[in-house]
Structures are given as C-alpha cells and as structure tokens.
C-alpha cells in the first residue's frame, strides 16, 4: 500500500507541476484555447493520442474484445489509418491553415467562420457542450470502476476525487496545461501497454501460439454469443448476423470514422505552427495508437485463454457478465503485483488525459462558441471559458453518478457517431469544396443530428430501450421490432445510427449546396488563400 501511495503522489506532483506550468504560460485567450499555437510536435501527437485513447478504449473496448474477439482489430486499423494518418495529413493541415487564416480558436468557430454563420458556430457549440459530458462521464465511470476493483476505493468517492483534481488544472491552465499533462500521461500509458503485450504473449508461448490457443477455445464460446452469430474469437461473426452488425457498424464504423469530426481532437491541429509538426505527429501517433488499442484488443481477446487456463472460465464469466470489469480483473489477478500498481496509474493517466480535453472542449464550446459568439455575450474571454469549463465539469459529474454500468463502450460510440453525423460533412466539404454553402452546412448539421438522434431514441435498441420514450409511445423498445423478424427493417435495431444518418447528412450537404446561392467569392478566396 505504501508503494501505491508513493507512486500516486509522485504522479500527482508531476501532473500538478505541468498544470502549474500551463497556467503560468497562459496569458491570453489564444493560450487558453489553442495553447498559443506553438506546441511541440511530440506534445501535440501524444496529447492527441492520449485524448483519443482513454479508459473507454482500453477498459471498455478491451472488455468488448474479450467478448467479440479479433474483429475489434479492424477498429485499431481504422484508428491508425483514419484517426492518425488521414486525420493529420488530409484534415489536420487544412484545418490548421484555414484556422490561422480565419483566426479560429475552436472547432465550432472554424465551421462558423468558414460558413460566415454564428448559427453554425453556436449550434456546434451547443451539441458539443450537451453531449460531451455523456462521453466524459463514461470515461469517469471507467476509471472509477477500475479503482473500485484495484484499490477498493468507493465508487462515488473516486468520481469526486477525479473531478476535483482535474477541475483544478483544466479550469486554471487551459489547453497548455491539458496538453503538457496529456503528453506525460500518454508516455506513461505507452510504456505500460508495451509491458502488458510482451507479458501476455510470453505467458502464452509466443504470438502465433497465443493466437492458436484462442482459436482452439472457440467451443467454449457462450451459447448467447453463438445464437447472435459469433463463430469464435479468431473466427469472427457470421456476416449479417445481429452481432456482426453490432461489431462492424457500431464499434468499428461509428467509432472508427467518427474520430474525424471530434472537436477535442480537431482543435489540436490548430495548436502547432506549421505542417512539419503534423508530419512528425503522424510518426508518433501511428506508433502510439498501435500500442494502445492494438494491445488492449489483443490482450482483451487473449484474456479468455489465460482465464480459462487458470480458472476454467472465459473472461466474461470471470467478470460476472460485466465486460467493463474484464481488464481490471485481468490486471489484478493475472499480472504481477508491481505491474498492477503501475498499470492502474497508467489507466488513471488515460482517463485524466481524455477527461481534461473533454472538459476543456466542452467549456470552450459553451463559453466561446455559444455564449460569446452565439449569444454575443461580453466579458473577459479567459474568465468566460473558465466558467464554461467549470459548468462542464459539474454536468459530467452528474452524468457519472446516474449512468448505468456497462455504459463505457456505448457512450463512446454514441458521442463519436453523433459528431460524425452532425459535423463530418460540413467539416470535410468545408475544407475541400468551394461550392459548399452556408445553407448546405446548416441543413446537413441539423439534419444529420436529428436523424442520428431519432435513430438513437426510436430505432437502435441499446439506447432506445434505455431511454424508454419509444416504449412509452409505441409499446416496443424499437420501431424496428415491428418489422418481420430477420428482415432488413428488423435488423436496423442492431445497426449503428450513422449507417443512415451520415449518408443523409452528406446528401443534404451536397443537394442543398447545389440548390442555394454560392458564398461570396471574396470570402471563399480568403478561406482557400493558404490551402
């Protein structure tokens, strides 16, 4: 116990020192919102990666990999190719250049200035502020559950402690404090994940041997998973089956593509001074993400083999059916004691790095985008954004106290999906298509959001059953249940909202832009001046 306390104390001292450094260097609003646009490429990439990858990815999705197996690796592939390579090379550079040219300070502000529309900025700000606390709460729940299992700390106490520590340095230090601490936390995560994968493969006799052992475990697959279409952990799921749809649409499509329109990630492209930092960031980010989700998913899946050898049970049975507990139990029961302490610290770091960015982007969305720009509110910009961050922290805490267990992976997919439907067409086409108009952006954003939200409330059973409105109005958990069992309509209840909402959002953007007057040539020329 003494070692745990000493390590935790050292960790917190470093975090607070970096937070203090961020606060000391924050003199103007550009420092608070964009880290002064002078961030080091390693810090930017590690901050991007550590924000991207949280306890949601490691504990939540690692647990999902223990249940669904290696199909989750497609998500890692998308995380690297889409989340790092395409994001930094094809989105990042244009975002930075247009952002500097138009003097944008947040992701919603970039959209608002591109389309010369306070509504676009205000709407995007409100969507981010309203929904990022749900995603943040999922991260908060993840780390609190881990502390509950690892240290026996009361769940509610964990929520409150984390919230207090983070609030202190995010509210005061802004994005500089967030990114400095992120880089430290990301480095810690990287080392721990490397140790974890080396240990697991070594324990199972090597890479191929480990995979083969997992392949041979297929007969132990639970009947419920077989009924849903699962064939095995390395065999995948039967194409078109309900579980196949859950894995490939919600987890991979929803999260893998949704990353491109994440405000807390996109804003990091505007924190560096040239393309060079983004190029270097691709290198750091590509390695980092492989070590994060790649390792988490492999270890999650392989935990079945190790648990079965040690206790005669597969992972989901070891965790009593709660997949969020699989990775924490694996670390506490399988890994050496010294690693358990350090891994716990790495997971604390993962949660804190993501949460700090979520609080910051939620706060600036409320302060800068909604209050200052949408409502034309006046006041000191730093104070307004600090107040926005403080409100986001409180809202997240409330969600953390009321959201149910096993919510981590679903809440992440929910936010990523909603952002993709609402923002991706307006963001992508805004960067690449001069013909994209203000009306096209407005209709696409509102339409994508409405379709995605409707689908979540009335069609996608996982969410609609929990919300209960569909049941109250129509007597069923999902409108798709009214269709014939096994039909395409019936299968929609398992399909991610963005299979429908994202194409709708894109179609609306293109059709409305083609049908409405083009934006002033002078403004478009200004937007494209440095692209």
């Amino acid at each position: 116990m003494a070692i745990k306390i000493i390590l935790a104390a050292v960790y917190l001292v470093v975090v607070f020192w970096l937070g203090y450094r961020g606060w000391r260097e924050t003199r103007q609003a550009t420092d608070y919102m964009l880290a002064g646009r002078r961030m080091n490429p390693f810090v930017m990439a590690m901050s991007y990666g550590a924000t991207f990858i949280s306890t949601s990815a490691i504990i939540g999705f690692g647990g999902a990999a223990a249940m669904f197996g290696l199909p989750l690796l497609w998500l890692t592939f998308l995380n690297i190719m889409v989340g790092i390579f395409i994001a930094m090379v094809f989105f990042g550079k244009r975002t930075r250049r247009m952002g500097v040219t138009l003097d944008a300070h947040t992701f919603p502000e970039l959209l608002g200035l591109r389309y010369k529309s306070p509504f676009v900025q205000g709407f995007a700000g409100v969507v981010v502020f309203l929904f990022i606390p749900v995603y943040a709460a999922a991260v908060l729940i993840g780390i609190s559950r881990m502390l509950e299992v690892g240290l026996g700390i009361n769940y509610t106490a964990s929520l409150l402690i984390f919230t207090g520590i983070l609030a202190l340095y995010v509210i005061t230090g802004g994005l500089k404090a967030v990114m400095y601490t992120d880089a430290f936390q990301g480095s810690l995560m990287f080392v721990m994940m490397l140790i974890l994968i080396v240990f697991v493969y070594s324990k199972l006799g090597g890479v191929v041997e480990a995979h083969q052992a997992l392949t041979d475990l297929a007969p132990k697959l639970p009947e419920s998973l077989k009924a849903g279409g699962m064939l095995g952990w390395t065999q995948g799921a039967q194409a078109g089956s309900p579980l196949w749809l859950v894995i490939y649409t919600t987890i991979i499509y929803g999260v893998g593509i949704g990353v491109l329109a994440q405000p807390q990630l996109a804003v990091r492209f505007m924190t560096v001074k040239s393309d060079r930092e983004l190029n270097r960031g691709v290198l750091f980010g590509g390695i980092f993400i492989l070590a994060m989700t790649g390792v988490a998913f492999m270890v999650g899946a392989l935990s079945n083999v190790i648990f079965f050898k040690q206790a005669g049970k597969i992972a989901v049975d070891m965790a009593g059916g709660n997949i969020d507990k699989i990775i924490p139990i694996f670390v506490s029961e399988v890994m050496p004691g010294w690693f358990g302490v350090l891994f716990l610290l790495a997971m604390v770091a993962a949660a804190m790095s993501t949460l700090s960015s979520q609080y910051h982007v939620g706060g600036t969305s409320l302060g800068r985008d909604f209050y200052e720009r949408g409502l034309r509110g006046r006041g000191n910009p730093i104070s307004i954004n600090r107040a926005g961050v403080a409100i986001t922290v409180v809202v997240t805490l409330i969600w953390g106290l009321v959201l149910p267990p096993s919510i981590i992976a679903r809440a992440t997919a929910f936010f990523f999906g909603l952002c993709a439907a609402a923002f991706l067409p307006a963001y992508l086409l805004g960067l690449y298509w001069k013909g994209m108009t203000r009306a096209g952006a407005v209709v696409s954003m509102v339409g994508g959001f409405v379709v995605s939200f409707f689908y979540l409330v009335f069609v996608h059973t996982k969410e609609s059953a929990a919300i209960g409105l569909c049941k109250a109005m129509y007597g069923v958990d999902s409108l798709a249940m009214l269709a014939a069992k096994g039909s395409t309509g019936w299968l929609l209840q398992f399909t991610d909202p963005n299979i429908i909402a994202l194409p709708v959002s894109f179609i609306l953007a293109v059709l409305v832009s083609l049908a409405t007057p083009k934006m002033e040539a002078k403004h478009i020329e200004q937007c494209w001046r440095h692209l």
Binding site: M33, F85, A213, L214, T215, V282, L283
Partner: protein, 54 residues
C-alpha cells in the same frame, strides 16, 4: 494464418502493423517539411488576434 482462424482477421492483424509502419515512414520522409505558405501563415499568426480574443 498466424494462428488466427479467419483470413480476414489475420489481415486485420497485419494491416494494423502496416498502418503503423506507414505512419513512421511518412513522418520520417516529411520530417522537415513545413508545407506551403508557412512563412505567410506565421506572419498572420504573429500579427495578433482578430476575432475578439485578447
């Protein structure tokens, strides 16, 4: 392949590693590439805030 029953999933495993390698190679090749307009953008940035930020 690689002890993984499904060829598709074995490729997922391989592509994860190849994607990471691509990122490393890209980063090395473009290590010092500041991109077009870097001087001009720096001047705009250093000229100070325009959108109400102080």
């Amino acid at each position: 392949m690689l002890g993984i029953a499904s060829t598709e999933l074995a490729w997922a495993f391989i592509l994860c590693i190849l994607a990471s390698v691509l990122c490393v190679v890209y980063g090395i090749v473009k290590w010092n590439d500041t991109g077009a307009f870097s001087e001009e953008l720096r001047d705009i940035d250093e000229s100070g805030p325009k959108n109400g930020c102080t």
